[in-house]
Amino acid sequence: MKRFILILALILPVAVSSRAAEPTVMPPAHEAYVMHFDGDWRVAGGLPEKALLISLQGLANRAAPQFYVIHPKDFQWEITLPLYEYYEHKYGVHFTELKTANAALTQFKSAVKGYVVWDKTVTTSLNVAFTIAGLEDAVVVTADLIPLVEQYGLKPIDDLRGRYTGQTDAQIYQDAVNRYWARCNKDAVMMMGGPRGPVMVPGMADWGVREKMFFHDLAANPEIPAELALEKRLLSELNPGATIFGWHPYGKDTEEMHTTLISSHGLKMEGLHNLPNLSFNCQFTFTPGFKFTNHAHVALDAKLEAQDKIYLSFVQSDSIGIGVWTKPGRGQLPFAWQVTMNWTKFSPAALEYFHESATPNDYFIGGLSGPGYMYPNHIPADKFPLLMKQANELMSMLDEHVLEIMDNSAADGNLGNADLTKETVDRYYKAFPSVIGFINGYGPARTRDLRGTQPLISYDYYIDPRRPREEVAADLEELIALNTKRPYFLLVHVRESNDVNSLITIVKQLTGPTEVVPLDVFLKLAASKQTYTTRYQDPADPKHFKGF
């Protein structure tokens, strides 16, 4: 998912107007600091100190990339350690470890003007505190951390204890909007959702603090109308092309509801709530001379002829960083990896790292749905062309020639209706005349098309990482038995945390004339003989979420 001076000229035309979203010249080899976090994000445990440190990170990284955080191996974003090592050897960054909050405050106190106290009994107040932190150059603390920050001469800027006791989230955020929204960044909002209650993981808050974003976890749920109305107001007051960072609040709404709402405003998502170090990563550009070169297996203008066999192709979406990149077996099977193209702006070094560590079997594709995570059935028609022009430019920079589309607005998580309307398909064919083809879905879907040499193929299978491997093999064999025409094009979505070795085992169990091919080859073959139906979303197909 979720990319030096020469390339800067290419990036600028597509960058949103956010000042900090524009990559700056890579600083020469320099000093920075690193902290290792543990996995304790409990409000009653490790969260308060982490929230303090993350707000400090956002402020410390305002002027220069100075403060980086490494998370444990089991953290959802597995890239923090490999990327740290990459910064060391490729960018020449020399890191000094900060072992304690005291050490971090000693190092970065000059970036901080004061502190804001949030209320552990009203956890929503943490998001309000983060908003204030960005606007007032403050760190966020709980009452028990006040003595710590006062040791460094920090003064109280605001105290939220008691202010929001007994109030609903809608009331709290309405008050925050009244007080702070006018001064906040209008190119980006921080939707600091994810888990709520006793555990919160605001790993992306450094970025929001640095960029002076408004933090919230308002629900995009029609059943919570006051929150939905307030979020609609915020979205409508953002600048065109703005980005919603973070993730939806678990338990209050669904990913499907929130992405539908954001897409209907022509805005794009960039997640997750726990994506760390953007305040650091955004300040590095690509190293001199670096150029994206994808591992293509077929020339763009080649014509292939499919044989009477079963062609399988594996795709990993969910953004490379939370995928199986670091797991065993990568490179042993052809694999397509969905790249969040916006990382050209927010994490160029991460993209360079992925490209440099790619094997010949790793093929990168653009997504999701456009220049960010969006549901295209809901993008306003008048906003679609400009968004897709941005996506085209980013894909060109990244040497990507396949676009992955996903619209789960009517789906139930990774199940159900993930189809595209004919109007949406028409728009994609018009906007991307040069791609090899399109793929669609997350769970299985049934939107398929072939226009000229460009197929649009949906996933026929989604591998749940928990499903026993022998059942996965049986499922694939059953699909092969049900789809009797040859060639059969079997596109498989591999969910994060599946490892490639297990897929090798599965493939070995398949009978018949099967061949696993790279996605570019797969699409070229699918263009040669259409044995799949042409189909779009049928209005009669069931919809899990009926819309707003």
Binding site: G413, N414, L479, Y488
Partner: protein, 177 residues
Amino acid sequence: MKRTLLKLLLVTWLLPLAAMAGDPAFNGRWRLDVARSTALDGWSTLDLVIQTDGSKVSLLHDLTWHATKATATNVIDTAAPAEVGNFFRLDQRHMAVYARPKEAAHVVATWIDGGRTLRVEAQVPVETSQGNTTMRLYDEYRLLEGGGELVLIELHSTRSRPLVYRFTKVPAEAAKK
């Protein structure tokens, strides 16, 4: 003598009827033992509510997937083959194999093994990426010794591995809740 003959006739007449009827122990709510069953895909839990009424057998499926709840019922007839609309198939939902709700499944159901097994054969219309096709299902609902456990063995014409689902009876009082 007349009475004995009458009794004999009654028994002779009732025996085939008994053979056609399912064991009453089938009736009630059965809960899938997920740990002892073939892994579901796209469903988290399953309760099967069986109700027999003459030759008719109602198989109600109460399903959950995270916060989603779904109910689907197949009413089948052990007296004669039937066309059953909107036939529910316990599907692997991460496969692009879709029901065709407007088309009926041809279903043949029979009580066998002295009423302790319900055999259901269904020709189920489905849609795949290559178009419409039919999947043949062969189900045996077997009542186990003691009547407290039920096993459903399902074969697909398109799958080499059987699917085995084990259920335990939900006590009547608990089933009402």
